[in-house]
Symmetry: C2
Subunit: 197 residues, 2 copies
C-alpha cells in the first residue's frame, strides 16, 4: 500500500517519522513517499530539511494519506489552496491519518464533520475552533471513525499507526513490530493519561 506523507514548513518531526519508522520497515506491505504543495525541500524548526514530491502527483488519492501537525498548521489552516488539495486527496484515499494538530487541517476541509476526531492536548482549544461540526474527543490516544484515524499529540501517532496495523494485520503482527523497534506500545486507543481529565 502506498503511504503518502504531507509535509509543510514547520511540521512536527516525530508526528511524521514515528509512523514512517513503522510503515517504512514493512517493505513487503507499505511504501512511503513524502509530498508537499510544490515539491522540493521542506524544512522545520528542528533543523530537518527533507526532499518531497509535489502533491499534484497524488490528486487521484492514495491508500493512506497522512497529515502531520506542528506549528506550521497555524499558518496552513489559512492556506485555502492546500486545504482544498488535502480535501481532494483525502476524499479519494482509502484511509486518512492525522497526527497531533494535523486534525485541524483535515477539519478545515469539512471531511471530519459529524465524525470523531482528537488532537494534541495542549493545542486542543485552538484545534476545536477549526471545525465546529466535528465530534472532538478530548480524552483519546487516537480515534477511528470510518476511514479516518486521528491521533493525540506527537508520540500518539506511533500508537495509532500500530493500532492500524492491528486492525489490518492482527494484534500479534502489530505487537511484533512494536517489539522490533523496542517500543512500549500503548495498545488502548481510549486510554489517555495526558488528557488531565
Amino acid at each position: 500500500m502506498q503511504v503518502a506523507i504531507l509535509l509543510f514548513e514547520d511540521f512536527e518531526t516525530l508526528d511524521v517519522f514515528g509512523p514512517v519508522e513503522i510503515f517504512g520497515r514493512l517493505t513487503a506491505h507499505y511504501q512511503v513517499t513524502f509530498y508537499s504543495q510544490t515539491g522540493g525541500l521542506v524544512k522545520n524548526q528542528h533543523g530537518v530539511r527533507i526532499d518531497t514530491m509535489p502533491l499534484e502527483k497524488i490528486r487521484g488519492g492514495v491508500d493512506i494519506f497522512l497529515v502531520p501537525g506542528g506549528y506550521g498548521t497555524r499558518k496552513e489552516v489559512n492556506n485555502f489552496l492546500l486545504i482544498d488539495t488535502i480535501k481532494q486527496i483525502s476524499a479519494l484515499s482509502r484511509w486518512v491519518f492525522t497526527v497531533c494538530t494535523g486534525s485541524a487541517l483535515l477539519a478545515k476541509t469539512g471531511l471530519l464533520d459529524s465524525r470523531m476526531a482528537t488532537s494534541n492536548k495542549k493545542a486542543f482549544d485552538w484545534v476545536v475552533t477549526t471545525g465546529d461540526k466535528v465530534n472532538w474527543v478530548r480524552k483519546a490516544r487516537w480515534t477511528v471513525d470510518g476511514k479516518f484515524y486521528t491521533s493525540s499529540g506527537v508520540s500518539a501517532g506511533m500508537d495509532m499507526t500500530l493500532g492500524f496495523l492491528k486492525d489490518i494485520h492482527g494484534l500479534e503482527f502489530a505487537r511484533n513490530v512494536a517489539f522490533e523497534i523496542e517500543y512500549d506500545w500503548q495498545e488502548e486507543k481510549d486510554h489517555d493519561h495526558f488528557c488531565g481529565q
Copy 2:
C-alpha cells in the same frame, strides 16, 4: 549547544528523529544540524531523503555528536574513512551519543574500549563483534560512561535523550518535555524488558 547528527545511507528513521524531536523543540538550548560524509541528500529504505552538510565542517568536534543505527551500519563498519572521521569528531566532542547499532560504528573507532555500551537486542550478537574490548551491557535501556551515551534499539534513543536532559537540566525538566510530546518516558536506564533476560 550544537547537536550534530550523523547520517549515512540506510540509517534507521526513528534512531535519528526521536532524539531530533526532543532536542529540536528546545530551541533555547540546542540547535540540530545533519551531516554526512560528503554532504547532500542522504536516503534510507523508509523513503526518507534528508539534506546534510559535509562532516568536514565539524572536524573540530561539537557539543553533542549523535551516531544512529540501521542496516547501513553493516556496510559502514567497513568504511574506514568514515570510521576515522567518527573517531576524530567523537574524540573532540563534549558528548557522544549512539542509538541502536550506531554503537557498532563507535566501537570500531576504539573509543568505547573498556567502556560500557549497549545496542539493539536483535543485532546484539553482531554488534559485540565490532569491539571485543568494550564492556557490552545486554540488559540496559541505555548506558552512560563518561561522555558516551549509548542506547538500546530504535525507540530507546528517545528515552536516552530524555535521560540526558535529566542529567543536564534535572528530572522535572525532562519530564516536562516528555509530557509535551505525550511520550511515556522509560525513566530508568537499567530497566529493559526487551532484553529477554
